[in-house]
């Protein structure tokens, strides 16, 4: 009897042991507390540092497949928000998930500020993540939610043009220049933005459109290598850059904004080296010169590095 009882206990213990072997350790490891003003345009330094710390944490090998770590995004303290920062947040999470799917889990909370909360919901943030959020429902807000893609998406460009014409009461012909700009930006991202990037990068672009007092604002971004790194450079420019690196002192190299301007002005900067390529950026610049678009800003941020490497144009 006693022997049988002991056998049963032994079998139970064995089963329990087998069960535990399948459970991976999950530990809350990083609390990413967002600054009060989360905005790349209004609070650049703090926002870039916020994202840089998240990226550096994941790059420093703090997790493994055996011990999945949770990154908790604490957005509760945000009192002011611009959508460019949210788009970057989505892009960064997408890339971490793609490269380190088994190593990280993401959780978060929502801003306590009701206006910021509504802004976050209305821009379409929730469609990128599964959530049991039961807060403010998306109202019929006057914008197109954040869209993303990895190739040229004519349907999205079409949708945006229809939206603009609807808001402004114009015809399709009026937004032809806008359609061209959108297609060129999408294909540029596909062809060039991630040329030197880690192959695990999610090669996506993100776009957001909103009506601000009857003036349409567009934000288009990717988290590729940046125009200065992906355009073709002349032999002398590369030579000078290498010399500057050796002496650790940028003396004669062109600044990044000079490279961008050169590409915009059509100075044969296509990586393909084909003479008939590189039409997109000069066309977009021409639209700006012709006043089809206003307040064109091209901004490049270097994440995962110190603030003095950040540039805006």
């Amino acid at each position: 009897m006693a022997a049988k009882a002991m056998q049963k206990t032994f079998k139970k213990r064995k089963k329990k042991k087998k069960k535990n072997r399948n459970i991976r350790k999950i530990a809350l490891s990083y609390e990413a507390i967002a600054p009060a003003v989360l905005s790349l345009t209004k609070n650049t330094a703090e926002t870039v540092n916020y994202f840089s710390e998240i990226i550096n944490y994941t790059l420093n090998g703090n997790s493994s497949r055996k011990e999945k770590k949770i990154i908790h995004f604490d957005l509760s303290g945000i009192t002011e928000l611009t959508i460019d920062a949210i788009m970057y947040l989505i892009a960064i999470i997408h890339n971490i998930k793609r490269k380190m799917y088994w190593e990280y889990e993401f959780k978060g909370n929502f801003p306590k500020n009701l206006n910021v909360n509504k802004q976050l919901v209305d821009c379409g943030f929730l469609k990128f993540f599964s959530s049991d959020y039961r807060g403010i429902a998306r109202t019929k807000s006057d914008n197109i939610t954040i869209e993303t893609g990895s190739k040229s998406e004519p349907l999205i460009a079409k949708q945006i043009c229809d939206y603009v014409n609807n808001v402004l009461g114009t015809q399709r012909v009026y937004t032809r220049f806008l359609y061209n700009i959108l297609i060129e930006l999408m294909t540029n991202t596909k062809q060039h933005a991630y040329n030197n990037s880690d192959k695990y990068f999610s090669h996506k672009w993100y776009i957001f459109v909103e009506n601000v007092n009857h003036s349409i604002k567009f934000i288009f971004l990717d988290i590729g290598d940046g125009i200065p790194k992906t355009i073709r450079k002349k032999f002398t420019e590369k030579f000078i850059e290498n010399m500057d690196k050796i002496f650790n002192k940028p003396i004669l190299s062109l600044e990044d904004n000079e490279y961008i301007l050169s590409a915009l002005e059509g100075h044969k900067r296509s990586q393909t080296k084909l003479p008939y390529r590189g039409k997109g950026l000069p066309k977009i610049y021409q639209y700006y010169i012709d006043n089809n678009i206003h307040n064109l800003k091209i901004m490049e941020y270097v994440f995962g590095a110190k603030m003095n490497n950040m540039m805006t144009y």
Binding site: S152, V173, R176, I183, K190, P275, Y276, G280, K283
Partner: protein, 106 residues
């Protein structure tokens, strides 16, 4: 006269340059429609009219790949001799396309 109305025969929302970049690319348009009609035009010694009206827009990459690509295959002079462009919605587009044809190998 042989005619192509891009918005009806291909797409009212064309894409970028290459097939690899997405749907309704300049490469796809040239290979599936433009080259075939151009060869018909050459055989019948006619004129090929390409109508660009009605579309949402035409990215420079799309136009250069379609028309510049045609000129790289058949020679820019031949293309200039046999092709005509209709673009009432955006008149400046005609000169832009002519420039892509003339500069197709530059």
């Amino acid at each position: 006269m042989i005619k192509i109305i891009i918005a009806q025969d291909f797409s009212d929302a064309p894409g970028g340059r290459l097939r690899s970049e997405g749907d309704f690319s300049g490469e796809e348009f040239r290979e599936s429609i433009l080259e075939k009609k151009f060869e018909q035009t050459l055989e019948s010694d006619d004129t090929l009219l390409v109508d660009l009206d009605g579309g949402y827009g035409y990215a420079p990459s799309f136009l250069e790949e379609a028309f510049g690509g045609l000129a790289r295959k058949y020679g820019f002079q031949k293309v200039l001799n046999y092709i005509d462009i209709k673009t009432d919605d955006e008149p400046s587009l005609k000169q832009e396309i002519m420039d892509y044809i003339k500069n197709s190998n530059k």
